[in-house]
Symmetry: C2
Subunit: 350 residues, 2 copies
DNA sequence: TGTTAGCACTCGATGAGTTAGAGTGCTAAT
DNA sequence: ATTAGCACTCTAACTCATCGAGTGCTAACA
């Protein structure tokens, strides 16, 4: 059943007012503040209908109305309009992101900081998942007879390394041989693919020492690949939520904070979300049943996908926040476009 | 002015009781629970004296007494006895630390987790400061004509790398030459030393291309050195404090959480603390005026110093917690002793 | 002189009772 | 269909009385 134009107007007014003031909205204040040309009594009737349809709730008989998750959903899908960012916010984003342009992780973290500063909510940013990254080469470097550095380089320029201590001696030549062998085996394959595959036994030689070396190196190799898959998660502004009336009770605040203490769990949840700006409201979330979670994605080299997000009560400025996140992710994607090497000091760290 | 034996007994009883129950302690309950052989009236008189001397305070006239910072300080310095860890805690520490033995950062993080689980307070762990680490060698690896990997290896086996994009071409030979040159210049010097020193201009050649390459690489080299100096800080169990009556008000809880949102600031503070088990109580802390902070240090290769710490209200079980931290840091130092390479799967990641 | 019993006094916590005000829901008039 | 009017509901805020834990003082006691 569709809502009438007037019902939509009233609903929008209630949402606007409630988002602003965090207090149940009465018919009288709607009639006064928003010029709908009808009396409070009429609004009351409409409110009653809206409540019956599940768009509003009632904390108790003699209180005003509060928008339900369903109302916010309707608002986000149909009612709200993109907001233009204030010049101040735009400037802040541009300045702060470009200041950290040449260091990847720092830029991501700054994005999260910005997001929480502007929205005054809790926010996070994640580096892209590397599952689809492909291996470029593997190198084992001789440090001393029992120590070597294992280095894995991906085709997008990601480098990870580990220092290994062996309990058998190894020579420079052995390491070079094994490097070559591993590179031949794994070059061009994705990390995911390699991790799932059987460990290749063939070293291309049957010299006992080589096999022993391989046996020592492979477990660390796999573990290092796993490390490369780990996305970094930066959370910022968690304490902002203390300023919101929704979290004025210790229990609510505790629940909120505890959720984000489980970083691994949270990361998995966020990785599973779709690309683009995604809004999940209240009950739509598995946990966080009284929070809204908004995520957006940015791209690196036009390909890999990282995420930023905002977490707050369902009562939030959906229009502003989604606009900010869109602007911010566009900006990030632009920053991380494959460069032609003509910017800054001539170097670009990753 | 020294305290009499009986005053010490009473003070100790009050501290024990207050630490346990978080409520002002009255003379009657002391007389009942702790067999001091004197009546409540006598205890009242002593309490009054202790208050005059600054060891106790009074929330209001008709409430019991609460230990002051000064009382806790006396307790920590003179009264408390080391506690033996429970077999359960010992087992937990041994099991959980050895499970992550071969990955340095993970072990550190697990130590923080353990500490917060056992103490039910907020805790942290920091990797060692690398200021005194010395450089072993520097290598520049050719990826393609405009991309290279910069790798810095310290003598203790720490490796850091950065991928650089150049805006001029470079050849394999050029990179090898520069690697050698840089290694000769910096080998054996500490990171601190190198960072403070002037950038060396002499590349050992006056070929223009080499100078240009050097100019591109050096800023990233310095930045990467700075990265190596950064200690990692892991914080765990921040939400534990919500369970304490001290933080049942939102404002207190907020203040607490906000302090730890400033990780950089916190890291600096912690780095400045002395080695060994250090307890700072209430006003003794610059910030955190109503918290107690206990830190302890562990050693890596018997040399570099990392820290773990516990943060909670001044009302905490000083005897248990210091004992746990002593045990835990000893265990960590043992774990990170220079190995003879005969453990585990024959490899050891760092 | 140190210790103790006794007692008046203080002060926060608790709970009951009251009131004010915001807001609804219904009815009847427009 | 809309609206004015009004009775009704419910919470928040306030007051007031009571309770009880605990002190501090005094006087008696060993």
């Amino acid at each position: 059943m569709d809502l009438s134009e007037r019902q939509l107007q009233i609903l929008q007014a209630i949402i606007t007012d409630y988002v602003e003031n965090a207090e149940p909205v009465g018919s009288r204040s709607i009639a006064k503040k928003y010029d709908l040309g009808v009396s409070p009594a009429t609004i009351r009737n409409e409110m009653s209908d809206l409540e019956e349809m599940g768009y509003l709730t009632h904390p108790h008989t003699s209180a005003g109305r509060v928008p339900s998750d369903k109302a916010y959903r309707l608002y986000v899908n149909n009612l709200m309009k993109r907001k233009n960012l204030s010049a101040k916010d735009k400037k802040m984003i541009n300045d702060r992101l470009s200041a950290s342009r040449d260091e990847f992780d720092r830029t991501i973290r700054h994005a999260a900081e910005l997001l929480s500063e502007i929205t005054q909510l809790a926010s996070f940013a994640m580096t892209p998942a590397a599952n689809e990254e492909t291996i470029s080469f593997i190198r084992l470097m001789h440090v001393d007879d029992r120590t070597l550095i294992l280095m894995i380089v991906s085709e997008s320029g990601n480098v990870t390394n580990t220092t290994l201590r062996l309990n058998c001696d190894c020579t420079q030549e052995m390491l070079e041989l094994l490097s070559k062998n591993m590179t031949v085996n794994y070059k061009g394959r994705t990390l995911d693919d390699v991790l799932k595959s059987e460990i290749i036994e063939d070293v291309g030689t049957d010299i006992e020492a080589m096999n022993q070396l391989r046996g020592s190196v492979m477990p660390s190799f796999m573990r290092t690949l796993e490390d490369m898959l780990n996305v970094n998660l930066y959370m910022e502004g968690m304490t902002n939520i203390f300023n919101l009336p929704e979290y004025s009770s210790i229990d609510r605040a505790r629940d909120f904070m505890e959720l984000f203490a489980q970083k691994d769990w949270f990361t998995q949840k966020m990785l599973a979300r779709d690309e683009g700006v995604v809004v999940t409201i209240g009950e739509e979330n598995e946990s966080l049943k009284d929070c809204t979670l908004i995520t957006a994605t940015y791209h690196v080299d036009g390909k890999m996908v990282g995420k930023i997000g905002v977490i707050g009560p369902t009562r939030m400025k959906y229009d502003e926040i989604t606009s900010i996140m869109e602007y911010l992710t566009n900006n990030l994607s632009e920053t991380f476009k494959l460069t032609d090497g003509s910017s800054g000091d001539g170097t670009e760290d990753r």
